[in-house]
Amino acid sequence: MNRQVLAVLLLISCSTTAFAGEQFDIEVTDRAVVQRCVTKGLPRSIAVGMPGGFNYLFDPVRCRLVSVWFGDFLDFRPEATGRGGQPLVPLGVRRNLGTAEVPIRIGAEDRIPEAVEFAGYRIEPATGIPAFLFAVDGVPIEQRVLSFGPGQVTIELAFPTPGTQPRLYCMEMTAVEQCELSDRLEQPAAGFVRIPATESWAQIRLQLKPTKESFVRQQPTTNGRLLYAVHCMSCHTLDGGKRIGPSFADLWTAPRIVSRNGQLESMVADEAYVRESILKPQAAIVKGYENANRMVDITQTLNEQQIEALVAFLKGLKPSGS
């Protein structure tokens, strides 16, 4: 094939990549996954997803564990679509474990550090589990966060160089039910753990209180009109014009003749009918559209709230006379 023909073919076959309707979740399988990203309120987030459904956010500015959640990891769509750069969405109820300040203090619990230097992280090759590397007031620290069961969070701190002063770890305790410490660690006050200068390793095991909150996945929009335009408009007009499917003109409470299980029946377009038409497009087919193209299954891409919003929008399409 000569080059010009190739160039022309390239031009002709030039296509765009569409993302709608695809899932963008980052899946965690047999290795831990680290993903740096923006999350709401934390532009420099480091999100970690561990095998088994334990996830957490680490803040490299104050070198602190911010929050944890159990279940799925992250929805990457806001980064992978459009111009990207939008906050990613953790796919679980976040439990806050981080105080606003730097959690590690050297010497005394009220000594706010002068210098906090984030040095990066080391990935354990076999498991993908990260150990965060940083220094607080010149003391080098390595931190890992693990979980050994539902609601269980283990914070591990290692001090590669021998210290002269005790180190303190400070936590947000609202979500914590029980706190266990490794040998020789003590709790001088609520939310503080004291690690003697002689220790090169420390473990803080937390059992979180059960939460009644359940995670509701947020989708980009619940604007009914926009949803109509994205998902319905190609086939259903609002003005009575005929496309692949029946028009939505004057839809609400309008009489419809539909074919159900091969039998014609007459009904009004009420909430139950509209809902059914969205969830089971083939259950009741408007007369005259029996052989029309099968309706695209939009439940694959829309969530509950979005379907509610779409129904609410369709509700507004009242006959002009009423």
Binding site: S15, T16, F19, P43, T81, Y121, R294
Partner: protein
């Protein structure tokens, strides 16, 4: 999928039971449920390589069985796709692309992909977006053009275009393909899939009936179009050239050689679409100028009909302005001299007493040259009619069809790693290691390594990496994340980075999507440099800014930053807006590119030295004299923001601003340039040391030849290769002399993200302007080959203009003036053309060479240069 099921259970507990009952009925078993079953045909087919499926379809697919399958109701293909001219003649609308000639447009492999993955690649012109405006209006259509100010959508169904100002846009979303996923589950067997692909791949133009040609006499065919009132006029001329005119939007559509199309037994016409080339005339192309706002007033159009006059067709239409209801009548004729040369003639009847200036919208950059008896203010888009002018002519000289590619160069595509959802492979930077490995950063935060033709993932989970650089040890890899410059090391030698070290992070990052960071590059002293972009909105809009487009949260955004070999970060130069490219030349000199916007008249390439201020004032508040940003940010100050900022002294920063070395000419050459890659002294043809840049919007490679006058960089920018296959952005010369080009797939423009390489054969001599040198009397143009004849001064059109330095978003070219060439002398060896004309500092000179041949017979395809003149010679 699982998630959907969960939802539905919560919603309607009876759904699953019902589905079970319905699954026996072909028509009512939604593909999604079938696809959920492990044994579904779609799943089985998707598990196989598309090339293998295509191969089987070619060998064992039966096209006639395939046609029966295609027309089957349960599949519903014909509901959306027109596959025969009769269907179109019967007024069937094509919701999806017509498939009458799909076999010409798509390879069997692409057909397999299109059927199996309808959302993966939507045919050009059918990928829809939905825009919701603040006023609650919804527009759906295909994006025909996008600018920072507005989005223009065209409705595939009605052909209507709508321009929506960005300020009015509340939300914009891609719409999914109307073609359902999992259609193949409606097929009874794998063989049926092969039959269907075989049928589609045989839908080629040549098979569609009797060819229509003009034998001695002009032929006009009216070809019905979906969704519009008037049929398209397709005209075959006795000279073998055809063109089409759309009476609905009153514009020339396309031109082609060969048969007009094919007529079937019933007389229905299939156009020879594969051969067509656009006129680049916008729909409803006329506008009326009001004051300086050229082309802001639109017209209503009324089609008056056409008549054949001799060997030409005259079309007539009436335009009325919406406000005053005055009418202009246009009689338009196309004179087709050759496939490459045409003239559009307009006879215009103006309403009584009108003195308005009309403009005609033609994308001139797509032509080799455009001449007119009207006025031509910008090369980019508009032709101007003088007030009251009744006879208006536009002479078009087309470029040769296809890609403009200098002789001796070739473009190849490099296959990227296997698709890895959700991490699209968008190559944002390249760097070669000592062992020959190529490291590639991607926009979704992966670092890939290509060694001996095998891709492996070196690092992952990074934050929008827009650059990569192999460290001085030839092994470790620096990459620029949005919030951090990071060094990646593979300490255990397993081929994957296991140590992610933070090298520099003490610059502000507030999370705005536009706070990009680019780089790094390294100089021979071992210093690293990277650049940071301003935020798209938020804090501290420059007080002078009327538009307030971009802003700085302070903390060294809009700066070039330096990291010394000890790892100390320091601010280096300010004034950048969206500096998407940073590069370093063989003499260790640093260059950045910036993108057009507020305070940036056009995209540019600038030479950067320590302390420079390049133009965007929002970056100045970081300077020590304001006391707002510490020189070294720590963990407290890196997140702090400032409530108020003092006013800036506009007089002093105007005086201080360092102008770009070369404007990259928004509209003509570069709208969104990436980094400059400096060519090696040899191995890339006669352009050693010159800068090559890729541009996202133009999908093109441009070339910059710099020179130093009075110690200041300036020079000329030339087109080089266009178009590339995708939205090209990042560039890098490899150790083998090849230019590697990466492209992005989304954002400001869309396309398949890929890698292309440009290589030179080391023997051929391309015919190009090698460089343009300033002389005391004008310019010397150096050619790579001897020019055929003495080129007269009148063969070169010189236009002079400048840009405004202001808060508005970009600047039109100001005071565009033709500068007559007083004298033109060709050197004895015919390789240097000296132009004598008066020139001034602060101006840009467009040198438009029109049609120039070399002694070898080669034609100068890249026939325009823009010279930015910062300093004159004494």
């Amino acid at each position: 999928m699982k998630y959907t099921l969960r939802l539905l259970r919560r919603f309607h507990p009876a759904v699953l039971a019902l589905l079970g009952a319905m699954s026996g009925m072909a028509l009512s078993s939604p593909a999604v449920w079938a696809a959920d079953a492990a044994a579904s045909l779609t799943t089985a087919l998707r598990a196989r390589a598309t090339a293998e499926l295509a191969g089987t379809a070619i060998q064992s697919g039966d096209a006639s069985r395939g046609e029966a399958i295609y027309r089957r109701d349960t599949l519903g293909c014909v509901k959306c796709h027109v596959v025969s001219p009769q269907a179109r003649a019967e007024g069937q609308r094509s919701i999806g692309p017509e498939q009458t000639t799909i076999g010409d447009r798509l390879t069997p492999k692409q057909l397999v992909e299109a059927v199996l993955y309808p959302n993966r690649s939507i045919a050009k012109g059918y990928a829809a977006f939905v825009v919701l405006t603040d006023a609650g209006m919804v527009h759906k259509g295909v994006v025909v053009s996008e600018s920072p100010e507005a989005v223009v959508l065209i409705s595939p169904e009605t052909g209507k275009t709508t321009e929506i100002p960005r300020v009015d846009i509340e939300a914009m979303q891609p719409a999914p393909s109307a073609m359902p996923e999992g259609l193949t589950d409606q097929l009874a067997s794998e063989q049926e899939f092969y039959d269907l692909i075989a049928f589609l791949s045989e839908q080629k133009a040549g098979k569609r009936g009797t060819p229509i040609t003009a034998t001695g006499k002009i032929v006009v065919k009216e070809v019905p179009q979906p969704g519009v009132s008037h049929p398209l006029l397709a005209i075959a001329l006795p000279n073998g050239i055809c063109y089409s005119f759309d009476p609905n939007a009153c514009h020339l559509v396309s031109i082609w050689e060969g048969p007009l199309g094919w007529a079937d037994a019933a007389g229905a016409v299939t156009l020879n679409e594969v051969a067509t080339e656009s006129f680049f005339v916008r729909e409803k192309p006329w506008r009326m100028a009001v004051g300086h706002n050229v082309g802001r007033v639109e017209f209503d159009y009324m089609w008056l009909g056409y008549e054949v006059v001799g060997d030409e067709v005259v079309v007539r239409y009436r335009m009325s302005d919406k406000e005053q209801q005055r009418a202009w009548v246009v009689a338009e004729t196309l004179e087709v001299r050759s496939p490459l040369r045409q003239r559009i003639r307009f006879e215009i009847t103006h309403p009584k007493g009108s003195a308005e200036v009309l403009t005609y919208w033609l994308q001139q950059t797509n032509y080799r040259s455009v001449g007119t008896n009207g006025q031509q203010a910008q090369r980019n888009q508009l032709e101007f009619l003088k007030p009251g002018q009744t006879l208006f002519e536009i002479d078009l000289v087309r470029r040769k069809r296809g890609q403009v590619l200098p002789l001796g160069y070739r473009v190849d595509q490099v296959e990227g790693p296997a698709p890895d959802r959700p991490f699209l492979f968008e190559p944002t930077g390249f760097s070669f290691a000592d062992d020959g490995s190529l490291f590639v950063s991607t926009r979704t935060g992966h670092i890939w390594r290509l060694l001996n033709g095998v891709w492996t993932r070196f690092a992952e989970g990074l934050h929008e990496t827009l650059g990569v650089r192999v460290a001085a040890n030839g092994r470790d890899v620096y990459t620029m994340q949005k919030p951090e410059l990071t060094l990646l090391e593979d300490t255990d030698g397993d081929g994957r980075a296991d140590l992610y070290q933070s090298v520099a992070n003490s610059f502000r990052f507030t999370g705005n999507y536009h706070e990009f960071a680019y780089g790094p590059v390294r100089n021979t002293a071992g210093n690293l440099f990277f650049s940071t972009g301003l935020a798209a909105s938020g804090h501290h809009e420059a007080k002078e800014s009327k538009t307030g487009q971009m802003s700085s949260p302070l903390g060294y955004r809009g700066w070039v930053m330096k990291v010394d070999p000890q790892g100390n970060l320091s601010p280096f130069a300010s004034g950048l807006r969206s500096p998407a490219g940073i590069g370093i030349n063989a003499d260790d000199e640093l260059f950045v590119t910036d993108n057009q916007g507020d305070w940036v008249a056009s995209s540019y390439l600038a030479h950067v030295e320590e302390g420079d201020f390049l133009g965007h004032p929002a970056t100045l508040w970081d300077r020590p004299e304001y006391g707002l940003t510490p020189r070294q940010l720590d963990y407290r100050s890196v997140e702090a923001t400032v409530e108020t900022v003092p006013p800036l002294d506009e007089v002093s920063y105007r005086a201080e601003r360092k102008p770009p070395a070369v404007w990259l000419i928004h509209g003509d050459l570069a709208n969104s340039p990436g980094n400059p890659a400096f060519a090696p002294a040899s191995g890339f043809g006669p352009f050693g040391g010159q800068a090559f840049l890729a541009d996202i919007s133009h999908r093109a490679i441009i070339r910059v030849a710099l020179e130093r006058i009075n110690g200041v960089y300036q020079g000329a920018v030339f087109p080089f290769i266009r178009p590339l296959a995708s939205a090209s952005y990042s560039t890098c010369f490899g150790p083998d002399g090849r230019l590697w080009v990466g492209s992005v797939g989304r954002g400001w423009t869309t396309g398949e993200p890929i890698i292309e390489t440009v290589s030179y054969d080391n023997t051929s001599t391309p015919f190009e302007m090698q460089r343009v040198a300033l002389t005391p009397h004008g310019f010397d143009i150096y050619f790579t080959q001897p020019v055929a004849d003495a080129v007269g001064g009148d063969a070169v059109t010189v236009r002079e203009f400048h840009y405004l330095y202001w808060a508005e978003y970009g600047s039109d070219r100001q005071e565009v003036r033709g500068r007559p060439v007083e004298q033109a002398d060709l050197s004895k060896d015919h390789t240097v053309l000296s132009l004598r004309l008066p020139v001034k500092a602060g101006k840009v000179y467009e040198l438009d060479l029109g049609y120039v041949e070399a002694e070898s017979g080669a034609v100068l395809e890249n026939n325009v240069a823009f010279y930015t003149l910062n300093e004159v010679l004494p």
